[in-house]
């Protein structure tokens, strides 16, 4: 130890360089920290799907590091037409008898049977998604978008998402629908004002 302290106090070229480097390094690190502190926020960002960009390719179900995926389908009832013949519920080509409440499994579009429907009145049915069963494949969203109101759409569920620094689904998304949104507005919901 004694030798090191001797070497430290002696002004050699090596020590001068080291001290200069220490001063420069400290200045750079402190400067970077100051700039970042000015640009930083306590909340930061979380990942979310922009439903306007989503093309329902199915990657959300398979690319997430979670299994099942943190992406789930949500249903905004105020946008729903409460149709009897729902293109998000029935498989294409299935011709339901009038008044059928639960379709046979093979006639349901959802591979896990996560969508249930309940008769409300007249020809109108209410559709509900069981979040625990939903795997985020987006099959129902595709049907609802193409032939219905688009009241079904995919969202990253923030009670599940582990907010990876680089989202694996975002990387695989063919429509750039994933983006970082401010954590205090973590959802991009259809029919509601969302921050740009």
């Amino acid at each position: 130890m004694s030798k090191t302290s001797d070497a430290d106090t002696k002004v050699t070229r090596r020590n001068l360089f080291r001290k200069g480097g220490l001063a420069a390094g400290t200045a750079v690190v402190a400067g970077t920290a100051a700039v970042l502190a000015a640009k930083g926020g306590t909340d930061g960002h979380v990942w979310q799907i922009d439903p306007a960009k989503c093309v329902q390719c199915g990657n959300c179900a398979t690319y997430c590091v979670l299994d099942p995926s943190a992406v789930k389908c949500v249903h905004h009832c105020e946008l729903c037409g409460y149709c009897d013949l729902c293109f998000g519920y029935f498989s294409p080509g299935f011709e339901p008898e009038s008044g059928i409440e639960t379709a046979p499994a093979e006639s349901q579009l959802c591979p896990t049977g996560a969508i249930t429907r309940r008769w409300v009145e007249g020809p109108h049915y209410e559709y509900t998604i069981d979040e625990d069963l939903c795997i985020g494949c987006g099959k129902c969203v595709l049907g609802c978008n193409n032939f219905g109101n688009g009241s079904l759409f995919l969202q990253v569920m923030h009670n599940r998402c582990v907010n990876c620094n680089e989202c694996a689904i975002a990387e695989a998304c063919p429509s750039d629908a994933f983006r970082r949104v401010p954590a205090d507005h973590p959802y991009l919901l259809k029919g509601e004002d969302t921050p740009a």
Binding site: M1, K3, K19, G20, L22, G25, V29, T32, A33, L36, A37, K39, G40, D43, G44, H45, V46, A52, K53, V55, C57, V65, L66, D67, P68, V74, H76, C77, E78, L79, G81, S98, V120, E121, G122, P123, H124, E126, G148, N149, G150, Q155, M157, H158, V162, N163, C164, N165, E166, A168, E171, P174, S175, D176, R180, P186, L189, K190, G191, E192
Partner: protein, 444 residues
């Protein structure tokens, strides 16, 4: 009848199917007093755990520095390292980490619209500050990526110095590339190609939901991770030494650190016992016995290298400029514009998801092309700068290797030493200090 009406309506509305949220079927006016259920989404989880991470980081850094520099205990450093591996690696899934935070910092500095989380700033800056004070104690016992490699390094072989130096340059290249791709918003390369995160996520843990991640990582990354672990049995810490972009920054800062771990607690008497103790080639030998090379040759070589540096910078810059176009294809907008262009000019038949996504937005093609051209321009400049950076790194390395330095003692190379403490037990003065002179080395 009702269904045929619906189908008719659908057929009429088909062309506008791209319009999002089209109200094709009006919300019924319910007469039975039915109330429309509200849309409920789960709130974001609490981020207290992230602040706990910062506290754990500070505590671990302080402990690591104390254990390596003051207590001089390899065993204690090893225990702390294992604890960090369990907490930051397996329990927290390896995210966020200091290495990945480089990209958040680059994106925040380049893109004004991105608010960098305070936690990412803390993970980036705190280990840098600690390194300026104590050297790379972060690598020794805090970083989970370092820990997973250090634990498996059971039969390390000596890598020839020339190869070690050459491969060490890759880390600077990787650092430059990671900054370029993060700053342009193309990708977070470090996270995407993190070889160990897939391994961390293999282990089911108690953190809410993370236990579900078992086998969630991609197979390719698991294979890469396994390859690194197997290689790590025989080559100590390959990622840390030759690839880690954060390690590249720490190497520079550690050179100037205020304090640094020493091999001997006392004076070095050049006993040579520690010579082969380090699996990372980080022990520098004294130069006293070797004959001093001819000064004239040294000077000529240095002059030649100093002339070579601008050439390297220019060559690197030119090469980088040329790579700008292929690099820009990593960016989503450029990929999309290329596909749309191919479809427009009839070079390909049909559409893909990526082009459908663009048509769905109903924006004019020219707008997309202009956007892609702007990104290509940014990539041209960015990758030219990356090339200059690589040229500079190579030039500085050559000069650094050619400058003769007099050393009287065995000492750690401040840049490559990770303060792991393996060499302590080899020093007879350390044995004397611990009064274990007659005993066997206690290095685990």
């Amino acid at each position: 009848m009702r269904r045929s009406l619906v189908i008719l309506a659908v057929l009429l509305l088909m062309p506008s199917s791209a319009a999002v949220g089209a109200e094709r079927f009006a919300l019924p006016k319910f007469k039975s007093g039915y109330e429309i259920p509200p849309l409920v989404v789960p709130p974001a989880g609490s981020d207290t755990l992230e602040y706990l991470d910062v506290a754990a980081l500070v505590l671990a850094l302080a402990l690591a520095s104390y254990l390596a520099l003051r207590a001089r205990s390899r065993r204690a450093v090893w225990v702390l390292m294992a604890a960090s591996l369990v907490y930051f690696g397996f329990y927290r899934g390896g995210c966020i980490c200091a290495i990945g935070a480089i990209q958040n910092v680059a994106l925040a500095l380049a893109d004004g619209g991105y608010t960098i989380p305070v936690v990412a700033v803390a993970f980036f800056v705190i280990p840098l500050a600690a390194t300026l004070l104590f050297g790379r104690t972060f690598c020794a016992a805090v970083c989970p990526l370092g820990a997973v490699q250090d634990i498996v390094a059971i039969r390390p072989t000596r890598v020839p110095a020339w190869l070690d130096h050459a491969l060490g340059l890759l880390a600077y290249v990787y650092l430059g590339a990671a900054v370029l791709f993060a700053a342009t918003g193309a990708a977070f390369l470090i996270c995407e190609y993190d070889p160990f995160v897939a391994i961390f996520r293999l282990v089911p843990f108690t953190r809410q939901n993370v236990w579900m991640e078992a086998f969630g990582g991609s197979t390719a990354m698991l294979i890469l991770g396994a390859a690194f672990v197997v290689a790590g049995l025989f080559i100590a810490r390959p990622y840390c030494r030759w690839l880690c972009p954060y390690g590249a920054i720490l190497r520079l800062l550690s050179r100037a650190s205020k304090w640094h771990v020493t091999i001997t607690p006392d004076e070095c008497n050049q006993c040579t016992l520690c010579e082969n103790a380090c699996p990372f080639n980080a022990i520098q030998k004294p130069t006293t016995d070797a004959p001093r090379p001819d000064r004239l040759i040294d000077r000529r070589r240095l002059a030649l290298l100093l002339v070579l540096v601008p050439v390297l910078l220019a060559a690197g810059g030119g090469f980088g400029w040329w790579l700008g176009d292929p690099f820009s294809r990593m960016h989503f907008t450029v990929q999309q514009a290329e596909r749309v262009r191919l479809e427009e000019t009839g070079q390909v038949e049909g559409t893909e998801d990526i082009s459908d996504a663009f048509y769905q937005t109903q924006r004019p093609r020219e707008e997309l092309y202009a956007e892609a051209a702007a990104i290509r321009g940014r990539f041209a400049v960015g990758s030219a700068l990356l090339g200059v950076w690589v040229g500079l790194v190579v030039g500085v390395k050559l000069i650094h290797l050619s400058v003769y330095r007099t050393r009287t003692d065995y000492q750690p190379d401040r840049a490559t030493c990770v303060s792991c403490g393996r060499c302590f037990a080899y020093c007879p003065f350390e044995r004397k200090r611990l009064k274990t002179l007659a005993g066997e080395p206690t290095t685990p």
